[in-house]
């Protein structure tokens, strides 16, 4: 990543300036022009270095306090098909395959469900299990009890020596 890209991301991650011309404000801090900052921001999005730009709600503060990580042990040869179907449920916000760590951790599929209550999360999981015929596979929901940190992924000031 070049120097200007890095400096722009470092400024952006402190928050988009809440002024009428935020990109001009950033340009002033970078010693660049508004046009260049607009161009570079578009490029960072196009390259996928920035996944999205905008607001990240604090779902806890907004009352969406039931955060259920549903975990499933499904056969490896079916996991892609099952994962894609799970991810299509509107209640599921993230869905990933991750490795098992036997014997302590038998699960290979993770699907996050956020809701207003634990009952809702549990009901959703059981409904999905029935609809996708997953009831025969071991699964459970692991609820969060405390949000301890949520800063989002941040770029560091300097690259650590590798």
């Amino acid at each position: 990543m070049d120097v200007l890209e890095r400096r722009l991301i470092l400024l952006l991650q402190e928050g988009i300036p809440l002024v009428t011309r935020p990109y001009e404000e950033l340009a002033q801090q970078l010693g660049s022009s508004e046009e260049d900052v607009l161009q570079l921001t578009r490029q960072l999005l196009a390259e996928g270095k920035i996944k999205r730009l905008g607001a990240v709600p604090n779902h806890y503060a907004l009352g969406i306090t039931a955060n259920g990580m549903t975990v499933w042990d499904v056969p490896d040869d079916q996991i892609s098909a099952i994962g894609h179907r799970l991810g299509q449920y509107p209640e599921v916000t993230h869905c990933y395959r991750r490795p098992r760590h036997l014997p302590h951790w038998p699960y290979n599929l993770f699907a996050m469900i956020h809701s207003y209550s634990r009952e809702e999360v549990l009901a959703t999981m059981e409904r999905i299990a029935k609809e996708l015929k997953l009831t025969q596979f071991p699964h459970e929901v692991i609820f969060s009890t405390r949000l301890l940190k949520k800063t989002g992924i941040r770029l560091k000031e300097k690259t650590a020596p590798t």
Partner: protein, 160 residues
């Protein structure tokens, strides 16, 4: 319209309308708040003031970019630990002290600490996990993503 939410405390109708429209796709134009305002029938000033208040009230965790470390030559992973209750607060402080840790949750399970580690190289991730393990003397289970089926956090607030 991914996640339908029925009610949300402490939010005015105008706040909900804004929230529903700014969780991505923030305009990359000279006057982005004016553009949002025109779409939502609000003035540029109202949009800016409402977003300011949403940040101040804690309704927003952030207003900026969601980064993808994998596109910057880096990576991220989910890690879990099973920590005894008497050591938990100490280990939480240790884990949270790393800038590479972006999210950390206590969960109701034998594995009671779950956190995300991101860095610009795989080596840095390994170093952070190894350090946490050595300093805490609890094992760290590394659960890197092998395949992504869906990511689309977008909370929609019902407007009356």
């Amino acid at each position: 319209m991914k996640h339908q939410v029925n009610s949300a405390p402490k939010l005015e109708e105008g706040d909900k309308i804004i929230l529903n429209h700014i969780q991505g796709g923030f305009p990359i134009t000279s006057r982005p708040f004016k553009e949002i305002g025109e779409k939502l029938g609000m003035s540029e000033t109202e949009v800016i003031e409402r977003i300011k208040n949403l940040c101040l009230s804690g309704a927003l965790s952030r207003f900026g970019p969601v980064l993808n470390p994998r596109r910057m030559g880096g990576n991220s992973t989910l890690a879990a630990m099973s920590v005894s209750p008497d050591r938990l607060e100490q280990v939480i402080a240790l884990v949270n002290s790393y800038p590479e840790v972006s999210h950390n949750y206590e969960r109701q399970h034998r594995f009671n600490l779950w956190f995300v580690v991101s860095a610009e190289s795989e080596a840095e991730i390994k170093r952070v996990l190894a350090e946490i393990e050595a300093k805490s003397s609890f094992a760290v289970m590394n659960l890197p993503m092998m395949e992504e089926y869906f990511v689309g956090v977008n909370f929609q607030f019902e407007v009356e």
